[in-house]
Point group: C2
Chain length 457, copies 2
């Protein structure tokens, strides 16, 4: 492999500048891991493309030398997506971070894959626009598309797949394609856009994204509602969904997580299971939606409900929610974080969360439950001691039990984090014969297995 990488770098040097190719130890180290508990592996080199042409050269050269490519955004993955677990190169998109076009008339933007979520948000605000996919981390848009990320606003605005209109993708053989058009809908040919979003870099490198954006809603009201039990809170969520109230956000944070949030964000929230909710719309419509929600919540013994329509107060409320994972990392120094990520039909959600809490208690691991319960998606944030073999074992067993519970009820092992290496072992059970079809598609588009190999499959 050492002579191969030398020849590859020699070949790449014909097309790229010296500064775009590095084997610096610090950089290799930085590209060896993500934000999760997965074991790091250093790449042989890190390459920084500046444009699509560079990416074409990189894929052609890597194809020629059969060296794997591991695309890298900012490394906020939670399932090991960016880790080079076979000898290969890391392709870092941080130099491709231009917002190419903001088109308020068509409500679309074009961005390079290295643009981060908050970078885009800041720019869109100037136009009265926003992009509605908000995972906790300040991930790149390329990474978010690769994993079909979602977040707190997904219950109203959808996932990345729903908000990517088309992408430019460089395939393993160096060919560049557009996965869709700029039209709002199409019945023309196979839906490559849906296939490439969520394909985790295993079918090609995303080099540009055209995204849907939305006008910042005229009126926003956010609120917090507390309940005696998580079970009652979730039943309240289900009743709101069934009533068809167009909720924009609906998040559960359990007692343990409220405790972490209070400590990390210096807040004084009541230590009870809490729903964080938000409504978008016109003034009178919101008032009626809030009143109806309050009425439904009272059927489930809601202990307190407060609304904030002031922007600063709302932002503080959601910042607390978004910082939850970091609150745990901060609160349990020396421990590693594992985040489960199942998603189920909503009728099973309350019981699934009770089961998850029970598992946490049985295994005696510190952690709490949070999630985008409007979608049926919840997370256990659990903190384990990476030097304690039994705790590692327990954490893994717990994850397996939570996943098994979801799969037995028609759910999925990952609602938004993706498969990477962490969820590979559940793919056969979840997909059955469909996994064979996925392998056939991978084989058709990447016969030499150079695009992020050994991920998903």
């Amino acid at each position: 492999m050492e002579t191969t990488i030398t020849s590859l770098i020699e070949e790449l040097s014909k097309y790229l500048e010296t500064a775009q190719i590095t084997q610096n130890e610090t950089l290799l180290e930085q590209h060896s891991k993500d934000e999760s508990y997965h074991a790091p592996h250093k790449p042989l080199a890190v390459i920084f493309p500046k444009d699509t042409t560079d990416v074409q050269h990189i894929t052609r050269c890597c194809s020629q030398f059969k060296v794997p490519i591991y695309p890298f955004g900012v490394g906020t993955s939670l399932e090991g997506h960016v880790i080079p677990n076979q000898p290969g190169i890391s392709v870092d998109f941080s130099l491709m971070n231009n917002i190419v076009e903001i088109n308020p008339e068509d409500l679309i933007v074009r961005v390079q894959p290295g643009v981060t979520r908050t970078q885009l948000e800041k720019e869109l605000k100037k136009y009265g626009l926003f992009f509605p996919v908000d995972p906790g981390a300040d991930a790149t848009l390329g990474g978010m598309a690769a994993t079909n990320a979602s977040g707190t606003l997904t219950v109203k605005y959808g996932t990345m797949r729903d908000n990517v209109r088309t992408m430019e993708v460089v395939l393993a053989n160096g060919t560049t394609i557009q996965t869709g058009t700029k039209a709002a809908k199409s019945s023309s040919g196979y839906h490559l856009n849906g296939l490439f979003v969520g394909s985790e870099g295993t079918l090609g490198c995303i080099t540009e994204l055209t995204l849907k954006v939305f006008g910042i809603p005229e009126h926003i009201a956010a609120g917090r509602a507390t309940f005696p039990t998580v079970h009652q809170a979730i039943e309240a969520v289900v009743s709101v969904l069934q009533a068809g109230i167009p909720i924009a956000r609906m998040e559960i944070v359990d007692e343990d997580s409220i405790l972490q949030v209070n400590q990390y964000s210096e807040l004084d929230l009541s230590i009870e299971p809490t729903l964080f909710i938000e409504f978008h719309g016109n003034k009178s419509g919101l008032a009626e939606d809030m009143a109806f929600t309050e009425q439904l919540f009272s059927d489930f013994d809601c202990t307190n409900i407060t609304f904030e329509s002031d922007t600063a107060a709302r932002n503080q409320l959601w910042e607390a929610r978004h910082n939850l994972a970091y609150a745990y990392v901060h609160g349990y120094k020396g421990r590693k974080m594992m985040i489960t990520d199942v998603c189920l039909p909503i009728s099973y959600l309350a019981d699934a969360i009770s089961h998850a809490r029970l598992m946490l208690d049985i295994y005696g691991l510190p952690g709490g439950i949070t999630g985008h319960v409007g979608d049926g998606n919840f997370h256990i944030v659990l903190m384990f001691d990476p030097h304690d073999e039994q705790e590692i074992q327990f954490a893994q067993e717990l994850n397996e039990k939570v996943v098994a519970y979801a799969l037995e009820r028609g759910g999925t092992c990952t609602g938004e984090h993706g498969v990477g290496t962490g969820k590979k072992k559940y793919q056969q059970q979840e997909h059955g014969e469909a996994l064979t079809v996925m392998r056939q598609l991978k084989q058709a588009l990447d016969p030499d297995q150079i695009m992020n190999p050994n991920k998903i499959f």
Copy 2:
């Protein structure tokens, strides 16, 4: 081929009842065509599967004898999808028409592919639910998924692809897969669901669909607004979209089409470019949305706007819109209908429709413009004399010019009808290198080209 079909029928007879296999001339004739102008071709036989196992036997036998399969719902396609343009068998799903499960708690239903839109609607009404994809025709859900159908409600509720949660599909080799899960979202593996919806029977036969359903909105208000010109009407549409008003339906019907509607539905609507609109929500929210819309419309010289919240009046309004294509067929007896179907970024929509009207006038063909303008999708319904070579030529040229106009502006050649055979010639221009990728996927999953061959590609 004659001996092959005899052997195939002999083999199929081992698994199916005699009545499920027919070579009756009337039935062959009935399965030779769709509702459009495309030339009919009779199948060698028509097979009526009763369940998934039957479909597995059919695909295995057809694979063995390399006889093409042409899936058939009720034949409402407009682009020749169901036409056996190579010698093969038509597989008619009309016996697989059970609504398997209605699950109001999870807001999903399971149906067999032969269930029609109005059959489902009738049943869902009993539960206070509705399914939001409403093409004009009373198509089967299987056919609607195959073409990624959409309709008047798509601007709010999305296309078939957005509303199919998972499907059971029998592949060319007889393997049966589930394309997704029952969870509201997933980042697990490739998005096969999005790939199979809209694949027009070229990758497999749909044998069951799990669909999202919605509670019938608490309040619905529908209205009609007239404008001096189509251009102003479309500019009014764009302003409503940009203002983020959550419109549920937004349809244009031009003067010529209003004339047809009046005649066919015995109405007396003012002969002006008209927007048919609808709002779903709570009472006070609707009032505010309607007032804001009225205000925006007045900026574009709206001549009259009326709202109906009475159910019967609303139904009459939308029935008139839904019957538009039939109104043309009725109004121009002896002529054939061609419906164009482009979709563009909304900023180009007003000019695209002006261009379309100009083309109709230049070629001197009778017809009008209508469409789901909230999505940027519009149709020319044009009526040509099938015995007049020059009119046929003109109709085709017109279609080509309208498609070229859309493709040059980042649009698509088909917003909702699909490719079939009618839009094959535009695929290279629309998709470029991506078409090669589509071919590779087809080759991977149907190497013997037995699933609806020669469609899309």
